[in-house]
């Protein structure tokens, strides 16, 4: 398997504005769930469906202040970093 270093390509894999719109849309969906489940749903969605480079770009943006992101998205996405929140992919309502 070819090594995945790509030293010649800098910057985000997808335009940040677009990632922000996509992330907020996911946040909108989970809004009706209680806070804890909403965060879990958002985390699991990003973990299961987003390319790791997209997730990293989102987290980097959150570290830089998370401008334009809904609070719900920021809180859910941050769970991606917590080992304790790690869960295998599933379909259906957020668990907890």
């Amino acid at each position: 398997m070819i090594d995945d270093e790509s030293p010649n390509v800098a910057g985000d894999v997808i335009d940040l504005e677009r990632l922000i719109v996509m992330a907020n849309q996911i946040g909108d969906f989970f809004a009706p769930y209680p806070t804890e489940r909403s965060r879990e749903g958002l985390r699991n969605h990003l973990r299961t469906y987003w390319d790791p480079r997209m997730r990293n770009a989102l987290l980097a943006h959150i570290d830089a202040g998370g401008d334009g992101l809904d609070l719900r998205v920021i809180e859910g996405a941050q769970l991606l970093r917590e080992k304790a929140a790690d869960k295998s992919g599933y379909y259906g309502p957020p668990q907890h």
Partner: protein, 720 residues
Amino acid sequence: MPNPRKPERETITICAYCGVGCGFKAETIGNEIIRMTPWKEGKANHGHSCVKGRFAYDYWCHPDRIKTPMIRGSIEEPWRKVSWDEAFDHAAKELRRIQSKYGRSSVGGVSSSRCTNEEIFLTQKFVRAVLGNNNIDNCARICHSPTQFGLSATVGTGAASQHFDSILQADVIMVVGANPTEGHPVFGSMMKRRIRQGAKLIVIDPRRTETVDSPHCRADVHLALRPGTNVAILNSIAHVIVRENRHDSEFIKSRCEWQEFEHWAELVGSEEYSPDKIGPIAGVDPEDIRRAARIYSTGPQSTIYYGLGVTEHSQGSTGVMCLGNLGLACGMYGREGVGVNPLRGQGNVQGGSCLGSWPHVFSGYRFVTDDATRESFEAEWGVELDSEPGLRLPNMFDAALTGHFKGMYIMGEDPVQSDPNQNHIIAALRNMECVIIHDLFLNETSKFAHVFLPGSSSLEKDGTFTSAERRIGRVRKVVEPLAGYQDWEVTVKLMNAMGYDVEYAHAGEVLDELARLTPAYEGASFELVDRVGSAQWPVNTTAPEGTEVLHTEQFPRANGLGTFMLTGFVPTRERVNEQYPLLLTTGRILSQYNVGTQTRRTANSQWHPEDVLEMSLGDMQARGLRVGDSVTITSRFGSTRLKVVESVRVNPGVIYTTFHHAESKANAVTSDLSDWATNCPEYKVTAVEVAKVRSPKPRHAESSVKHAAHREREAKEIWT
């Protein structure tokens, strides 16, 4: 007139057009197809057919067919005809060069629902096992990906719960965002038969479609909602059901997660979704919402059929969940005459969905992040596989624009014509270094390609299709492939050229491999399908000849129970304003198929020589337009031109067109928004303005397609 010629040979195969999957008898003399007649034993069509399957097959030998591989160094150069070996070698070297320069994840592939299960499975294998990443997607991304997501979430299976014949036992038929009498005509005829016998019909569609009102078909309730308000309307229907205590508590208690039902009932039962609140938002009479809710919940046998009018929205997946929720709440699952069923646009969308052409799941909808699943594929394929989800089709184009995605194998797709926001797609393709097109014809996308591998039509290959009712049927080679290889052989040879050693004696061996790796297909084989005609998955030791109705005892979720998703209504970000006051929505016509690549190359074009814009009389008068005027349609993303016609089928404020002709460029205007869960584009809602063109340019001057002029001449002959 001489008598019809007598065929030398008859081959039973499946029509490659819509997802109904009609069985056909292809009659041949030598390597010439003289007739396609519907097969009486076909379990989807029972001897019926529509005007596409019956007549639109001559595209396979159209002079535009490309029969020799071609390559070129850049898209400015002319194509150079080469041998197959040289084409494979060039493609392989380019993909490897790109990967060593930009990284393993800088390349990917997309498969087509016009291809067989075996080909779709192999494309997945090519990307995962040979390219070494999960950048693999299929065209269901841009049509029914929300179906897989929304139905998996609620009932555990992203597919139709019923067989088509089940409709003959329905008392109430609810059609949402679909127009089966045009889009799925053979199924549409069966629906009409049931309506004639007295079944009630509810239609939810912005347009007064042929399904709403045509011979033998009249809706008892038509909710002509504003495009983009599906979720609001479906929640409002649910509101009436839970408020009037019309749900089936017994079914919910025994078959579903009760607690999730209570959360859901609280959400949809809130004042926010009362018909009096939602009616004005969606532009429908609140009383009609109540009537629809009462008819559906009364049943006793109520069934739902839906199409892209549900999925192609920024809340597409939520809309599908709404349907799953409704079916569960009223106990409309697990027997004949009920269920929730997607109507699929292409012959093998279901197969495309099932067989792992997705960046996040292997065949059988099992996550790439799951170790045990991944290990079973690694054992079979003999390589280590990527454990992270890859890029989805729209993300691939996004990543091409930022320079992270440089090479792509496109099997049987034309993203420039069929994907949204055309200017964006073209800019992305221009930024790529190796685009490999594997197709029957040069198309809009091949203008930006570097390698062209000539494909084979479904009449030239062996394999299986899975229709919208989960029916696995046999595609049989009727004539020899014009370019020498069946599509699956091309993918295998490309794998070989890249140094991955694999060999199959025939397509049946690919099916055997995918059956080993895909639980629902476990019992599928050429032998089985040849013996029983066709079989609906799951086909396994408990159901050796397949399964007609799903969820009869439990739902395939961890606890065996169906569940309710919370489906809050979130209006799309695409809104009308003073500058763009109209909503454009899109659809299909009976005689043509999709972007028309095939049907436009047949005499079926006589029925539909061009796409037109449907507009209400009031909207036309307000703009000083007359029938036949050439108009410009402008959105925030681009513009295109069409002829306008007056239509009573659309409400004021809504305009409608089809996209069967490349020069119509409907996707030059569609927006960049997509479904929150799957990135399925929001084709069905675009805010636009329409204005009269003062001195219309000739239509073909606007298109740079080589054959556009030819088509124009054809069309003129028809008009004069």
